[in-house]
Symmetry: C2
Subunit: 190 residues, 2 copies
Amino acid sequence: MELLKQRILKDGRVKDDHIIKVDGFLNHQIDIDLLNEIGKEFKSLFEGEKITKIITIEASGIAIACIAAIYFNVPVVFAKKSESKNIDGEVYETVVHSFTKGRDYTVILEKRYLTQDDSILIIDDFLATGKAQEGLLDISRQASATIAGIGIVIEKGFQGGGDKLREEGYNLQSLAIIDSMEPGSIQFRD
Amino acid sequence: MELLKQRILKDGRVKDDHIIKVDGFLNHQIDIDLLNEIGKEFKSLFEGEKITKIITIEASGIAIACIAAIYFNVPVVFAKKSESKNIDGEVYETVVHSFTKGRDYTVILEKRYLTQDDSILIIDDFLATGKAQEGLLDISRQASATIAGIGIVIEKGFQGGGDKLREEGYNLQSLAIIDSMEPGSIQFRD
Protein backbone atom coordinates (compact mmCIF):
# COMPACT_ATOMS: atom_id res chain seq x y z
CA MET A 1 0.00 0.00 0.00
CA GLU A 2 1.89 2.97 -1.38
CA LEU A 3 0.24 5.64 0.82
CA LEU A 4 1.23 3.71 3.93
CA LYS A 5 4.81 3.11 2.78
CA GLN A 6 5.23 6.81 2.03
CA ARG A 7 3.88 7.64 5.49
CA ILE A 8 6.27 5.17 7.14
CA LEU A 9 9.18 6.75 5.24
CA LYS A 10 8.03 10.24 6.23
CA ASP A 11 7.01 9.78 9.87
CA GLY A 12 8.38 6.41 10.99
CA ARG A 13 11.36 6.66 13.31
CA VAL A 14 13.78 3.75 13.07
CA LYS A 15 15.44 3.31 16.46
CA ASP A 16 17.71 0.41 15.56
CA ASP A 17 17.61 -2.53 13.15
CA HIS A 18 14.58 -4.06 14.95
CA ILE A 19 12.46 -1.19 16.29
CA ILE A 20 10.48 1.33 14.27
CA LYS A 21 8.19 3.84 15.96
CA VAL A 22 5.00 4.75 14.11
CA ASP A 23 3.23 6.28 17.08
CA GLY A 24 2.63 9.56 15.27
CA PHE A 25 -0.02 8.00 13.02
CA LEU A 26 -0.75 4.37 13.97
CA ASN A 27 -0.53 3.35 17.61
CA HIS A 28 -0.46 6.31 19.99
CA GLN A 29 -1.69 9.23 17.91
CA ILE A 30 -3.97 7.82 15.20
CA ASP A 31 -4.49 9.38 11.79
CA ILE A 32 -8.11 8.47 11.08
CA ASP A 33 -7.90 9.37 7.36
CA LEU A 34 -5.02 6.93 6.96
CA LEU A 35 -6.92 4.28 8.93
CA ASN A 36 -9.89 4.74 6.62
CA GLU A 37 -7.65 4.02 3.63
CA ILE A 38 -6.20 1.02 5.48
CA GLY A 39 -9.72 -0.26 6.16
CA LYS A 40 -10.64 0.04 2.47
CA GLU A 41 -7.43 -1.74 1.45
CA PHE A 42 -8.14 -4.68 3.77
CA LYS A 43 -11.67 -4.91 2.37
CA SER A 44 -10.26 -5.02 -1.14
CA LEU A 45 -7.60 -7.63 -0.25
CA PHE A 46 -10.11 -9.96 1.41
CA GLU A 47 -12.92 -9.38 -1.09
CA GLY A 48 -14.84 -12.60 -1.64
CA GLU A 49 -13.86 -14.12 1.71
CA LYS A 50 -16.70 -14.89 4.09
CA ILE A 51 -15.99 -12.87 7.23
CA THR A 52 -18.39 -12.72 10.17
CA LYS A 53 -16.10 -11.10 12.74
CA ILE A 54 -12.84 -9.21 13.03
CA ILE A 55 -10.62 -10.34 15.89
CA THR A 56 -7.76 -8.32 17.34
CA ILE A 57 -5.81 -7.88 20.56
CA GLU A 58 -5.74 -4.89 22.89
CA ALA A 59 -4.67 -2.17 22.72
CA SER A 60 -3.17 -0.97 19.46
CA GLY A 61 -5.07 -3.38 17.22
CA ILE A 62 -8.45 -2.00 18.30
CA ALA A 63 -8.38 1.22 16.28
CA ILE A 64 -7.43 -0.52 13.04
CA ALA A 65 -9.91 -3.36 13.56
CA CYS A 66 -12.79 -0.97 14.24
CA ILE A 67 -12.21 1.23 11.20
CA ALA A 68 -11.77 -1.87 9.01
CA ALA A 69 -15.00 -3.30 10.45
CA ILE A 70 -16.95 -0.39 8.96
CA TYR A 71 -16.01 -1.65 5.48
CA PHE A 72 -16.66 -5.32 6.32
CA ASN A 73 -19.87 -4.47 8.21
CA VAL A 74 -19.15 -6.99 10.98
CA PRO A 75 -18.53 -6.78 14.74
CA VAL A 76 -15.05 -6.60 16.29
CA VAL A 77 -13.98 -8.71 19.25
CA PHE A 78 -10.75 -7.79 20.96
CA ALA A 79 -8.82 -10.27 23.11
CA LYS A 80 -7.97 -8.78 26.50
CA LYS A 81 -4.78 -8.99 28.45
CA SER A 82 -5.96 -11.01 31.40
CA GLU A 83 -5.11 -8.39 33.98
CA SER A 84 -8.10 -6.47 32.62
CA LYS A 85 -10.27 -9.16 34.14
CA ASN A 86 -13.60 -7.39 34.00
CA ILE A 87 -14.85 -10.66 32.61
CA ASP A 88 -17.51 -12.92 33.99
CA GLY A 89 -18.13 -15.64 31.44
CA GLU A 90 -16.26 -18.70 30.27
CA VAL A 91 -13.12 -17.66 28.42
CA TYR A 92 -10.66 -18.98 25.89
CA GLU A 93 -7.13 -18.15 26.98
CA THR A 94 -3.66 -18.37 25.57
CA VAL A 95 -0.18 -17.17 26.48
CA VAL A 96 1.63 -14.69 24.25
CA HIS A 97 5.27 -13.73 24.49
CA SER A 98 5.98 -10.03 23.98
CA PHE A 99 9.44 -9.23 22.68
CA THR A 100 8.86 -5.51 23.21
CA LYS A 101 8.10 -6.06 26.87
CA GLY A 102 10.34 -9.08 27.35
CA ARG A 103 7.74 -11.26 29.08
CA ASP A 104 4.77 -13.57 28.67
CA TYR A 105 1.20 -12.43 29.19
CA THR A 106 -2.14 -14.21 29.16
CA VAL A 107 -4.79 -13.18 26.69
CA ILE A 108 -8.47 -14.02 27.10
CA LEU A 109 -11.62 -13.87 25.00
CA GLU A 110 -15.10 -14.73 26.25
CA LYS A 111 -16.41 -17.91 24.66
CA ARG A 112 -19.81 -16.41 23.90
CA TYR A 113 -18.21 -13.98 21.41
CA LEU A 114 -16.40 -16.50 19.18
CA THR A 115 -17.95 -19.76 18.02
CA GLN A 116 -17.66 -22.44 15.35
CA ASP A 117 -20.16 -20.46 13.26
CA ASP A 118 -17.67 -17.59 12.91
CA SER A 119 -15.36 -17.04 9.98
CA ILE A 120 -12.83 -14.53 11.17
CA LEU A 121 -10.34 -11.99 9.95
CA ILE A 122 -7.47 -11.34 12.36
CA ILE A 123 -6.27 -7.71 12.23
CA ASP A 124 -3.23 -6.21 13.93
CA ASP A 125 -0.88 -3.27 13.63
CA PHE A 126 2.43 -5.16 13.62
CA LEU A 127 3.65 -8.64 12.81
CA ALA A 128 7.24 -9.49 13.77
CA THR A 129 7.89 -12.99 15.09
CA GLY A 130 4.14 -13.66 14.93
CA LYS A 131 3.60 -14.51 18.60
CA ALA A 132 0.51 -12.28 19.03
CA GLN A 133 -1.02 -13.68 15.84
CA GLU A 134 -0.30 -17.25 16.94
CA GLY A 135 -2.12 -16.46 20.19
CA LEU A 136 -5.20 -15.28 18.30
CA LEU A 137 -4.99 -18.32 16.00
CA ASP A 138 -4.82 -20.56 19.07
CA ILE A 139 -7.95 -18.93 20.51
CA SER A 140 -9.71 -19.24 17.14
CA ARG A 141 -8.86 -22.95 16.98
CA GLN A 142 -10.17 -23.42 20.53
CA ALA A 143 -13.42 -21.87 19.30
CA SER A 144 -13.38 -24.05 16.13
CA ALA A 145 -13.86 -20.81 14.18
CA THR A 146 -12.86 -20.65 10.52
CA ILE A 147 -9.82 -18.46 9.89
CA ALA A 148 -10.52 -16.54 6.70
CA GLY A 149 -7.40 -14.42 6.80
CA ILE A 150 -4.89 -12.29 8.66
CA GLY A 151 -4.48 -8.59 7.86
CA ILE A 152 -1.42 -6.75 9.12
CA VAL A 153 -0.53 -3.10 8.68
CA ILE A 154 3.27 -3.38 9.06
CA GLU A 155 5.13 -6.69 8.83
CA LYS A 156 8.75 -6.80 9.90
CA GLY A 157 9.66 -9.35 7.25
CA PHE A 158 13.17 -9.85 8.57
CA GLN A 159 11.80 -11.37 11.79
CA GLY A 160 10.25 -14.27 9.90
CA GLY A 161 6.83 -14.56 11.56
CA GLY A 162 4.93 -13.63 8.40
CA ASP A 163 6.67 -16.08 6.12
CA LYS A 164 6.11 -18.86 8.66
CA LEU A 165 2.36 -18.13 8.69
CA ARG A 166 2.28 -18.08 4.87
CA GLU A 167 4.07 -21.46 4.77
CA GLU A 168 1.43 -22.80 7.14
CA GLY A 169 -1.16 -21.82 4.52
CA TYR A 170 -2.78 -18.78 6.10
CA ASN A 171 -4.06 -16.02 3.83
CA LEU A 172 -1.82 -13.33 5.32
CA GLN A 173 -1.92 -9.89 3.75
CA SER A 174 0.46 -7.21 5.02
CA LEU A 175 0.08 -3.66 3.74
CA ALA A 176 3.80 -2.92 4.11
CA ILE A 177 6.59 -5.47 4.59
CA ILE A 178 9.90 -4.13 5.85
CA ASP A 179 12.75 -6.40 4.80
CA SER A 180 15.48 -4.40 6.49
CA MET A 181 15.93 -1.10 8.22
CA GLU A 182 18.38 1.09 10.07
CA PRO A 183 18.16 4.72 11.17
CA GLY A 184 17.74 6.74 7.97
CA SER A 185 16.94 3.78 5.72
CA ILE A 186 13.99 1.40 5.25
CA GLN A 187 13.78 -1.30 2.56
CA PHE A 188 10.31 -2.58 1.72
CA ARG A 189 9.63 -5.93 0.07
CA ASP A 190 8.20 -5.54 -3.44
CA MET B 1 -29.69 8.52 23.28
CA GLU B 2 -32.69 6.25 22.95
CA LEU B 3 -31.04 3.60 20.73
CA LEU B 4 -28.27 3.17 23.30
CA LYS B 5 -30.65 3.00 26.27
CA GLN B 6 -32.71 0.33 24.52
CA ARG B 7 -29.56 -1.65 23.79
CA ILE B 8 -28.44 -1.39 27.43
CA LEU B 9 -31.86 -2.64 28.55
CA LYS B 10 -31.73 -5.48 26.02
CA ASP B 11 -28.12 -6.66 26.29
CA GLY B 12 -26.64 -5.09 29.43
CA ARG B 13 -26.21 -7.52 32.30
CA VAL B 14 -26.48 -5.93 35.74
CA LYS B 15 -24.30 -7.94 38.12
CA ASP B 16 -25.08 -5.97 41.27
CA ASP B 17 -25.99 -2.40 42.16
CA HIS B 18 -22.62 -1.09 40.91
CA ILE B 19 -21.54 -3.30 37.98
CA ILE B 20 -23.17 -3.53 34.57
CA LYS B 21 -21.62 -5.57 31.79
CA VAL B 22 -21.99 -4.25 28.25
CA ASP B 23 -19.28 -6.37 26.72
CA GLY B 24 -21.63 -7.78 24.09
CA PHE B 25 -21.71 -4.49 22.19
CA LEU B 26 -19.36 -1.89 23.70
CA ASN B 27 -16.11 -3.06 25.26
CA HIS B 28 -15.23 -6.63 24.36
CA GLN B 29 -17.37 -7.41 21.35
CA ILE B 30 -18.06 -4.13 19.55
CA ASP B 31 -21.17 -3.39 17.50
CA ILE B 32 -19.80 -1.06 14.84
CA ASP B 33 -23.25 0.09 13.66
CA LEU B 34 -24.06 1.22 17.19
CA LEU B 35 -20.65 2.91 17.48
CA ASN B 36 -21.37 4.78 14.26
CA GLU B 37 -24.58 6.13 15.75
CA ILE B 38 -22.70 7.02 18.94
CA GLY B 39 -20.10 8.88 16.89
CA LYS B 40 -22.80 10.88 15.09
CA GLU B 41 -24.49 11.70 18.41
CA PHE B 42 -21.26 13.03 19.91
CA LYS B 43 -20.72 15.15 16.78
CA SER B 44 -24.21 16.57 17.17
CA LEU B 45 -23.79 17.23 20.93
CA PHE B 46 -20.47 19.05 20.46
CA GLU B 47 -21.46 20.87 17.25
CA GLY B 48 -19.93 24.34 17.24
CA GLU B 49 -17.09 23.45 19.62
CA LYS B 50 -13.59 23.80 18.24
CA ILE B 51 -12.02 20.36 18.53
CA THR B 52 -8.57 19.53 17.17
CA LYS B 53 -8.06 16.15 18.81
CA ILE B 54 -9.95 13.39 20.58
CA ILE B 55 -8.22 12.03 23.67
CA THR B 56 -9.02 8.70 25.32
CA ILE B 57 -7.42 6.02 27.45
CA GLU B 58 -6.60 2.43 26.51
CA ALA B 59 -8.16 0.01 25.96
CA SER B 60 -11.93 0.26 25.78
CA GLY B 61 -12.05 3.98 24.93
CA ILE B 62 -10.11 3.50 21.71
CA ALA B 63 -12.90 2.01 19.61
CA ILE B 64 -15.40 4.72 20.52
CA ALA B 65 -12.87 7.53 20.10
CA CYS B 66 -11.82 6.30 16.65
CA ILE B 67 -15.32 5.96 15.26
CA ALA B 68 -16.27 9.37 16.70
CA ALA B 69 -13.11 10.85 15.14
CA ILE B 70 -14.45 10.02 11.68
CA TYR B 71 -17.30 12.48 12.28
CA PHE B 72 -15.06 15.14 13.85
CA ASN B 73 -12.35 14.61 11.22
CA VAL B 74 -9.55 14.89 13.79
CA PRO B 75 -6.80 12.56 15.06
CA VAL B 76 -7.16 10.42 18.18
CA VAL B 77 -4.50 10.18 20.87
CA PHE B 78 -4.88 7.46 23.45
CA ALA B 79 -3.13 7.60 26.82
CA LYS B 80 -1.27 4.39 27.57
CA LYS B 81 -1.04 2.44 30.77
CA SER B 82 2.60 2.87 31.51
CA GLU B 83 3.42 -0.82 31.47
CA SER B 84 2.98 -0.59 27.70
CA LYS B 85 6.15 1.46 27.65
CA ASN B 86 6.97 1.32 23.97
CA ILE B 87 7.52 5.03 24.32
CA ASP B 88 10.66 7.00 23.64
CA GLY B 89 9.79 10.66 23.95
CA GLU B 90 9.02 13.05 26.78
CA VAL B 91 5.71 12.11 28.38
CA TYR B 92 2.98 13.59 30.50
CA GLU B 93 2.00 11.18 33.22
CA THR B 94 -0.67 10.88 35.85
CA VAL B 95 -1.93 8.27 38.31
CA VAL B 96 -5.43 6.86 37.97
CA HIS B 97 -7.23 4.72 40.52
CA SER B 98 -9.25 1.86 39.06
CA PHE B 99 -12.16 0.71 41.19
CA THR B 100 -12.74 -2.28 38.90
CA LYS B 101 -9.19 -3.49 39.41
CA GLY B 102 -8.78 -2.14 42.92
CA ARG B 103 -5.44 -0.44 42.35
CA ASP B 104 -3.63 2.61 40.99
CA TYR B 105 -1.97 2.68 37.60
CA THR B 106 0.14 5.24 35.81
CA VAL B 107 -1.03 6.63 32.49
CA ILE B 108 1.27 8.34 30.01
CA LEU B 109 0.92 10.39 26.85
CA GLU B 110 3.81 11.62 24.71
CA LYS B 111 4.21 15.37 24.92
CA ARG B 112 4.62 15.77 21.18
CA TYR B 113 1.01 14.61 20.64
CA LEU B 114 -0.77 17.12 22.90
CA THR B 115 0.11 20.81 23.04
CA GLN B 116 -1.30 24.18 24.04
CA ASP B 117 -2.56 24.57 20.47
CA ASP B 118 -4.97 21.67 20.94
CA SER B 119 -8.63 21.97 21.86
CA ILE B 120 -9.65 18.51 22.91
CA LEU B 121 -12.66 16.30 23.36
CA ILE B 122 -12.21 13.55 25.95
CA ILE B 123 -14.11 10.38 25.03
CA ASP B 124 -14.61 7.26 27.14
CA ASP B 125 -16.95 4.30 27.47
CA PHE B 126 -17.81 4.65 31.18
CA LEU B 127 -17.82 7.37 33.80
CA ALA B 128 -18.37 6.30 37.41
CA THR B 129 -16.37 8.13 40.06
CA GLY B 130 -14.57 10.05 37.31
CA LYS B 131 -11.02 8.97 38.17
CA ALA B 132 -10.04 8.08 34.59
CA GLN B 133 -11.48 11.37 33.29
CA GLU B 134 -9.67 13.34 36.00
CA GLY B 135 -6.45 11.65 34.85
CA LEU B 136 -7.02 12.78 31.27
CA LEU B 137 -7.94 16.27 32.48
CA ASP B 138 -4.73 16.38 34.50
CA ILE B 139 -2.68 15.42 31.43
CA SER B 140 -4.54 18.02 29.35
CA ARG B 141 -3.78 20.73 31.93
CA GLN B 142 -0.11 19.71 31.95
CA ALA B 143 -0.17 20.24 28.17
CA SER B 144 -2.04 23.57 28.58
CA ALA B 145 -4.54 22.23 26.05
CA THR B 146 -8.07 23.65 25.92
CA ILE B 147 -10.71 21.22 27.12
CA ALA B 148 -13.69 21.61 24.80
CA GLY B 149 -15.74 18.82 26.30
CA ILE B 150 -16.09 15.33 27.68
CA GLY B 151 -18.20 12.71 25.90
CA ILE B 152 -19.20 9.56 27.77
CA VAL B 153 -21.22 6.62 26.51
CA ILE B 154 -22.54 5.34 29.86
CA GLU B 155 -22.44 7.41 33.05
CA LYS B 156 -23.17 5.69 36.32
CA GLY B 157 -24.88 8.74 37.77
CA PHE B 158 -25.22 7.26 41.25
CA GLN B 159 -21.44 7.22 41.65
CA GLY B 160 -21.29 11.00 41.41
CA GLY B 161 -18.27 11.56 39.18
CA GLY B 162 -20.31 13.11 36.39
CA ASP B 163 -22.14 15.63 38.55
CA LYS B 164 -18.82 16.67 40.11
CA LEU B 165 -17.35 17.38 36.67
CA ARG B 166 -20.47 19.36 35.69
CA GLU B 167 -20.20 21.41 38.89
CA GLU B 168 -16.59 22.15 37.97
CA GLY B 169 -17.90 23.63 34.72
CA TYR B 170 -16.91 21.00 32.18
CA ASN B 171 -19.14 20.46 29.17
CA LEU B 172 -19.88 16.83 29.95
CA GLN B 173 -22.32 14.97 27.71
CA SER B 174 -23.27 11.40 28.57
CA LEU B 175 -25.38 9.42 26.12
CA ALA B 176 -27.02 7.38 28.89
CA ILE B 177 -27.01 8.15 32.61
CA ILE B 178 -27.94 5.30 34.92
CA ASP B 179 -29.32 6.65 38.20
CA SER B 180 -29.86 3.26 39.82
CA MET B 181 -29.78 -0.38 38.89
CA GLU B 182 -30.11 -3.88 40.20
CA PRO B 183 -30.38 -7.21 38.39
CA GLY B 184 -33.52 -6.99 36.24
CA SER B 185 -33.98 -3.23 36.59
CA ILE B 186 -32.20 -0.12 35.28
CA GLN B 187 -33.38 3.45 35.86
CA PHE B 188 -32.07 6.10 33.48
CA ARG B 189 -31.94 9.80 34.26
CA ASP B 190 -34.31 11.81 32.03
